[in-house]
């Protein structure tokens, strides 16, 4: 997929964050993990926000978590974002919290605490955007 999605806010990777976006291009969600205290952190930093350590490595995470909170945005921030859409805070099983979109679901069925799993959407030639889907109850 090489289609540009006009108007959306595209992430501008930095030297520090490029490995995150490169992993996304490979279909993997990664987080920084401290070699000293083993804690994961998000967003990426030059220091471990738990112990202050500097020895951070990128680690593939499960991409699974649960909804910490969410909202259904009824009035989009711009025409590039077609309302309604679900904005969510996801608590990943590894610990960190991240903002993301919840896709492929009826917004009115979303609840706090629901299990979710990561998926990727092509937003540009360079950006595969990590979004989340509800895990169907088995």
């Amino acid at each position: 997929m090489t289609t540009e999605t006009p108007g959306k806010v595209l992430p501008q990777p930095s030297v520090l964050t490029e490995p995150y976006w490169e992993a996304c291009r490979q279909g993997e969600l990664t987080m920084q993990r401290c070699e000293g205290c083993q804690a994961y952190q998000f967003y990426p930093r030059t220091i471990c926000s738990h112990c202050g350590g500097r020895d951070l490595a990128w680690s593939v995470v499960s991409g699974r978590g649960q909804i910490k909170s969410f909202t259904i945005v009824r009035r989009g921030i711009s025409r590039a974002y077609e309302a309604p859409y679900v904005l969510a805070l996801i608590n990943l099983d590894e610990g960190p919290c991240m903002m993301s979109s919840l896709v492929g679901c009826d917004p009115d069925t979303v609840v706090v605490g629901a299990r979710v799993t990561v998926a990727f959407e092509s937003w540009s030639t360079d950006i595969e955007m990590p979004v989340f889907k509800l895990v169907k109850a088995s």
Binding site: K8, F42, S69, F70, G76, A80, L89, S101
Partner: protein, 391 residues
């Protein structure tokens, strides 16, 4: 040893608001200067008595050296002059700083003046910039969060954790409007009901249009000086008895907790300095950019227990004549919200109430009040305790 507490050392001796609402053609600088001069006159002073000036930048008229430009416009030449970084909570952290500047001798008479023209003065590009000014540019903004959406995340979390309802959030908007109805200066004065709020357009679940604050033009200013100097000035001094701040995060995805904010530390610090408790407050002005902030603040500031905010607001406590009238001018929800200056109107209102000058909306016999502001997304909090007695 020097007494480091600010308690009772500084007083507000002059206050003024401009007209608020929809004021096309008036620049933030013009409104800020008008408010400053009116506050100086209210204090019975001349502009040349002012040796400290604090402003905040205006989104509709951004400047690199905003306070200096304001001093130049006024043709005053202060020895303490600074424009604070913008944000709803900054308004009262500025008061904290200005009071400290007086206590440490940096200035004797400080004017804090703020104005903006969020309603009439923003170009399309500036309006977009305002929307994009919150949110992590790489890890939040791409997902399309709107400002109401951030606060909806807090509301939804509170509902899930404590069973809080949309009706309870709505009752906060109803209370603010009931106060505004008694304030001729307020932008929105027609009474509303819980049903009106719930029937207004959904913006970001669970927040309806009437859960969201206004967009306004306007300015406001106060004059601060030492309590010694205040004693023989024109107005009844309103003393700063406590000031406290709490700062927990910037981005909502990095918040320690969605349902308990750093208003807790801000309130504890302010109350501790003042030697007073929440039950000593005759009214409170709580930051109400969206209804859920007020509910969380009531809990965090100790006016009710955590998780009981819904029942507290539903009881009618916040209404005129209630056990804790909140936002007696109408708040950001119904008086005005010109952006960063928004909390200034809660401060000037508190002074009028404590002076006994709030005519048709006077909270009878008011002696002490708490005013609170927050900025970011429940990120940065300042609480001030004001009173009519210095000690």
């Amino acid at each position: 040893m020097m007494d480091k507490s600010l308690r009772g050392k500084v007083a507000i001796v002059g206050v003024a608001d401009t007209e608020v609402g929809v004021l096309p053609g008036r620049t933030p600088m013009e409104m800020g200067v008008e408010a400053a001069l009116a506050a100086i006159a209210d204090a019975g002073l001349e502009k040349n008595d002012v040796d400290g000036l604090v402003t905040c930048n205006a989104m509709a008229q951004p400047m690199m050296y905003h306070a200096e430009a304001t001093a130049e416009y006024l043709q005053i030449f202060p020895r303490y002059c600074i424009a604070a970084g913008a944000g709803g909570g900054t308004t009262f952290s500025i008061i904290h700083h200005a009071a400290s500047a007086i206590a440490t001798g940096m200035a004797d008479v400080v004017v804090v003046a703020m104005a903006d023209a969020m309603r009439s003065g923003l170009t399309r590009d500036q309006a977009m910039l305002v929307q994009a000014s919150t949110g992590h540019p790489e890890f939040e903004q791409p997902y399309g969060p709107t400002v109401p959406a951030y606060y909806a995340l807090i509301a939804q979390a509170h509902m899930a954790e404590f069973g809080t309802t949309q009706e309870q959030f709505a009752s906060i908007a109803v209370a603010c409007r009931a106060h505004a109805a008694r304030n001729p200066a307020a932008q929105m004065r027609d009474l509303i009901s819980v049903e009106d709020v719930l029937e207004s357009r959904m913006i970001a679940d669970p927040l309806h249009l009437l859960d969201c604050s206004l967009v306004s033009d306007g300015g406001s200013a106060i004059v601060l000086t030492s309590s010694e100097r205040a004693a023989d000035m024109k107005q009844t001094p309103i003393y700063l008895l406590g000031a406290g701040e709490g700062h927990s995060h910037e981005h909502i995805s990095a918040a320690r907790n969605l349902t308990t904010s750093a208003a807790k530390e801000a309130g504890q610090r302010a109350f501790e300095m003042s030697g007073l408790r929440p039950t000593d407050m005759d009214f409170a002005q709580l930051y109400d950019c969206f209804t859920p902030t007020v509910l969380v603040e009531l809990e965090d500031l100790g006016f009710c227990n955590k998780g009981e905010g819904g029942a507290f607001v539903e009881s009618g406590a916040l209404l005129p004549g209630g056990s804790l009238p909140v936002n007696t001018h109408g708040g950001l929800l119904s008086h005005s919200h010109p952006g960063n200056p928004g909390s200034m109107f809660a401060l000037t209102e508190s002074v009028w109430q404590l002076r006994g000058e709030a005519s048709g909306r006077q909270v009878a016999g008011s002696k002490n009040a708490l005013v609170h502001a927050q900025g970011g997304i429940m990120s940065s909090h300042t609480a001030l305790v004001l009173g009519t007695e210095a000690s």
